[in-house]
C-alpha cells in the first residue's frame, strides 16, 4: 500500500537524479586504476538509497520502516565514503549532492523513530539513545566529508577519523591528563566549591543580615568573568592542580550559593505555616521542609557547575601547569601542530563532561523524583 511520498524521500529522489548529471562523484586517486570499482560503489550507493526510499514509501510497520531506513541510509553513506578514502580533496559536487540525499533519509529515519512510542522501558531507553546518536553521527559524517572531500589542511581541522585514531593510540597520555585535570583539579574543586556554596547559603539563610549583605554580592559575582582570575590563582596557589581547583572552587561557589538561597525560598506560605502550627524550630523546618523543597534548585546548580568546573580547570591550565593535564595538552599540541591530539582531548573532555552531567541528572531524578517535572506518567 502506498502512502504519500515523504518530502525527504521526494527531495532525495530529486537529488539522486541531479547527481547523475554530475558524474563522477569523485576524482579517482592516481594510485587507483580500476574505474570499475568506482562504478560498483556508485551502484551500491544508489541501490541502498532507492531501497530506503522504497521502504519509506511502501512499508507499513513504523518500526520496520525506521530500521530499514536506518540501515539503507548509513550503508549508502559508508560506501559513498570509500570514494574519497584519500585525504586530498577528491570530492566533486556530485558527492555532496548524494551525501545530502543520505542525510535526508537519515533525517526521515529520525522522524519515524521519534514518532514511535515503545511500550517497554528498554525500548524507550534504546530509542532515547539511538535518536540523538544518529544526529551526532551526522555531525561527524558531514565534518569528515568536508575536511576530507575539500582537503582542508590537517592542522586547521582534522577529520574525525584521524582524531579517533589518535585518541585510540594516545590512551595512556590522555589517561594521565584526565587523572591530572579531572580527578585532581575538577573533582576537588567541584566538591569544595559546591559544598562551601551550600554551607554559605545555609548560613545566609540562618542569618538574614548575612543574606542581605551576601546575596547582592553573590548575584553580582556569579555574573562576573571569573575565568579572568585564572592567572592570579596560578600566581597564588602554584602550578599544580591546586590552583586549578581554586579556579573551580570560585567558579562553582556562587552558582551554588545563589541557587540554594533561591531554593530555600520556594516553599509556599502555607507549607511554612504548617510547620509553624507544629511549633517546629528553625532546623526542623529546614530539614523537613525547606531543604527537600530546595532540592531541584540545588541540583540545578550541581548541573550548571558540572560543566563550569571542567571548563574552568582546562582554561586555568593555559596559565601554567606541570607538563600534564588536558588544558596543557591542548595548548601545547596546537603549538606542535598535533591538532588531532587537540581534538582528541576535546572529545574526551566533552564525553566526560556529558557523563558527569548525565550522572548528576540521574541522581537528581532519583532524589527529586517527586518534582512535577519528573512525574509525568507516574500517577
Amino acid at each position: 500500500m502506498m502512502r504519500a511520498l515523504s518530502w525527504q524521500s521526494l527531495v532525495a529522489v530529486l537529488l539522486l537524479l541531479a547527481a547523475l548529471f554530475q558524474l563522477p562523484l569523485a576524482n579517482v586517486p592516481i594510485a587507483m586504476t580500476a574505474p570499475a570499482v568506482a562504478w560498483t560503489t556508485l551502484i551500491l550507493v544508489y541501490g541502498f538509497l532507492l531501497a530506503g526510499i522504497g521502504a519509506d514509501t511502501f512499508m507499513r510497520s513504523r518500526l520496520w520502516r525506521g530500521i530499514v531506513l536506518f540501515l539503507c541510509a548509513h550503508l549508502a553513506t559508508v560506501f559513498l565514503f570509500t570514494l574519497i578514502s584519500d585525504e586530498n580533496g577528491l570530492a566533486r559536487p556530485g558527492f555532496y549532492v548524494v551525501l545530502a540525499a543520505c542525510w535526508l533519509l537519515a533525517w526521515r529515519c529520525v522522524e519515524i523513530l521519534s514518532g514511535l512510542q515503545p511500550r517497554s522501558r528498554a525500548g524507550r531507553i534504546i530509542l532515547a539513545l539511538i535518536i540523538p546518536a544518529i544526529f551526532g553521527a551526522w555531525i561527524l559524517i558531514i565534518w569528515e566529508a568536508v575536511t576530507r572531500g575539500l582537503g582542508i589542511p590537517f592542522i586547521l581541522l582534522p577529520p574525525p577519523s584521524a582524531v579517533f585514531t589518535k585518541l585510540i593510540f594516545s590512551l595512556s597520555v590522555i589517561a594521565a591528563d584526565v587523572n591530572q585535570t579531572i580527578f585532581k583539579a575538577v573533582l576537588a574543586g567541584y566538591l569544595m566549591g559546591c559544598a562551601s556554596g551550600f554551607v554559605a547559603a545555609i548560613l545566609a539563610d540562618r542569618f538574614p543580615f548575612m543574606r542581605r549583605g551576601l546575596l547582592p554580592i553573590g548575584n553580582l559575582v556569579s555574573a562576573l568573568p571569573m575565568i579572568g582570575i585564572a592567572p592570579i590563582m596560578v600566581m597564588w596557589f602554584g602550578f599544580d592542580w591546586q590552583s586549578k581547583a581554586a579556579v573551580v572552587v570560585i567558579m562553582t561557589f556562587f552558582p551554588m550559593l545563589v541557587n540554594t538561597v533561591a531554593g530555600l525560598a520556594v516553599t509556599s506560605t502555607m507549607e511554612r505555616d504548617l510547620m509553624r502550627t507544629y511549633a517546629a524550630g528553625y532546623w526542623q523546618t529546614l530539614f523537613k521542609l525547606r531543604l527537600p523543597a530546595a532540592g531541584p534548585f540545588v541540583f540545578n546548580a550541581l548541573k550548571i557547575n558540572s560543566t563550569l568546573a571542567l571548563i574552568g580547570a582546562i582554561v586555568a591550565e593555559f596559565f601554567g601547569t606541570p607538563v600534564v593535564g588536558m588544558g596543557f595538552r591542548i595548548s601545547t599540541e596546537v603549538g606542535r601542530m598535533n591538532v588531532d591530539m587537540v581534538w582528541a582531548e576535546i572529545a574526551v573532555a566533552a564525553i566526560i563532561g556529558s557523563l558527569f552531567y548525565g550522572g548528576v541528572a540521574l541522581v537528581e531524578r532519583a532524589v527529586t523524583f517527586w518534582h512535577p517535572s519528573f512525574r509525568n506518567g507516574k500517577a
Binding site: 589542511p153 590537517f154 586547521l156 602550578f239 601547569t321 606541570p322 606542535r336 601542530m337
Partner: protein, 301 residues
C-alpha cells in the same frame, strides 16, 4: 601596491621592530608593498594562520616551522633576520642551582607551544629525564612572566635576553644575583625569528618577486632599527607595544641578535637545528628543503 600580510609570533614589541620601522618609515611603500602586520599572542600558532590563508608570510622559530612542514604544511624559510638565539635559563644565585649538574631533582620553567624544543635538546644532551623524580628535572609550563621565580615556584625559568630577563631585573633581582645559562653559549641554540612562506606559492614568480621586495624592505627596516634603537622603540610603542623604557631596552638587546642584519640564513645553523629536530623525534623524517636562498639572493641584488 601589492598586499602582504605578515603574522608575528608574539605581541607587538621591539622583538619585531624591523617590520614596524619598515612600515612606519615607508620602506615597504618604496617597494610598492602594502603590508598588514598582525600581532600574535600566547596561543596563536602562526603556522596555522598561514595554512589557513590568513597570512602570506610569518615570523616563526625554526623548530616549530620544521614540525609543521613534517605535518604537511610546507613552510619554507626565505630569510633569517635573527642570526643568534636569545633564549636563556636563569636561576637565582641564592637558590640550589649553581651548575648544570645541579639540575637533577629541580623544577625548571619552560615555554611550550613550539618553544620547548631547545630545552628538551639541552636536557637530552645532559642525559636528564624530564619526567621528574630525583634523577630528572620537573618541568613546568611557564606563563608569560617571571612570577615563578618571584614566587619560588621554579628553581630556574626561561627568559629571552631581550624581554623577560629585564622583567626579572625590574622585579628586584640584580644581575649579579642571577645565574644565566645562555643557549647560544652552551651550543644548544636553535634558529629563532625567521621569515617563512608556503612553499607551493613560490612557484608563482610574482609572489617570489613580492617576497624578495618584502625581505629587502624588512631588512632595511631592521638596519634602521639597529642604528636608531630609541626611535625604533617609539615606533613600536606607537604600534601598540607596552612600556616605552622596556621597549628601548629590548631593542638594544635585539640588536645583538641580528648579527650583520642581512637576514641571511646560515646553512650550517639550519643543518644543526634540523639535526636537533630529528634527534628529538619532533619530526618523523629528516626535513628536506626547509629553506631557500633564492628570495634572499633576489632581495640582496
Amino acid at each position: 601596491a601589492d598586499e602582504v600580510t605578515l603574522q608575528l609570533k608574539w605581541v607587538t614589541q621591539s622583538q619585531f621592530a624591523g617590520y614596524y620601522v619598515a612600515e612606519e618609515k615607508g620602506f615597504y611603500d618604496e617597494e610598492n608593498l602594502d603590508v598588514t602586520i598582525k600581532p600574535g599572542g600566547p596561543d596563536i600558532a602562526p603556522e596555522q594562520v598561514i595554512a589557513g590563508g590568513g597570512a602570506d608570510v610569518i615570523v616563526d622559530w625554526m623548530a616549530p616551522a620544521l614540525a609543521a612542514r613534517d605535518k604537511g604544511v610546507k613552510l619554507i624559510n626565505i630569510a633569517q633576520p635573527y642570526q643568534k638565539s636569545g633564549l636563556e635559563m636563569i636561576c637565582p644565585k641564592d637558590g640550589p642551582v649553581k651548575t648544570e649538574a645541579d639540575f637533577k631533582g629541580k623544577t625548571l620553567g619552560v615555554w611550550f607551544f613550539g618553544n620547548e624544543y631547545p630545552f628538551y635538546g639541552w636536557m637530552n644532551k645532559l642525559g636528564l629525564s624530564t619526567e621528574g623524580g630525583p634523577d630528572g628535572v620537573t618541568v613546568l609550563k611557564q606563563s608569560f612572566d617571571v612570577q615563578p621565580l618571584v614566587q619560588k615556584q621554579a628553581d630556574c625559568i626561561s627568559v629571552m635576553t631581550y624581554n623577560e630577563y629585564w622583567q626579572a631585573i625590574d622585579a628586584g633581582f640584580k644581575a649579579e644575583d642571577l645565574l644565566v645559562f645562555n643557549y647560544t653559549q652552551l651550543g644548544n641554540d636553535m634558529l629563532e625569528d625567521g621569515l617563512y612562506v608556503m612553499e607551493d606559492k613560490l612557484s608563482d614568480a610574482a609572489f617570489k618577486d613580492k617576497m624578495a621586495r618584502f625581505v629587502k624592505a624588512s631588512m632595511k627596516g631592521w638596519k634602521y632599527a639597529m642604528e636608531n634603537p630609541d626611535e625604533a622603540a617609539e615606533i613600536v610603542v606607537d604600534a601598540g607595544g607596552q612600556d616605552e623604557n622596556h621597549q628601548k631596552r629590548m631593542m638594544g638587546e635585539v640588536a645583538k641578535l641580528l648579527g650583520d642584519a642581512s637576514g641571511k640564513l646560515d646553512p650550517a645553523a639550519y643543518e644543526r637545528t634540523a639535526k636537533l629536530v630529528v634527534d628529538q623525534k619532533i619530526v618523523s623524517k629528516a626535513p628536506e628543503g626547509g629553506y631557500t636562498t633564492e628570495i634572499f639572493d633576489a632581495a640582496s641584488k
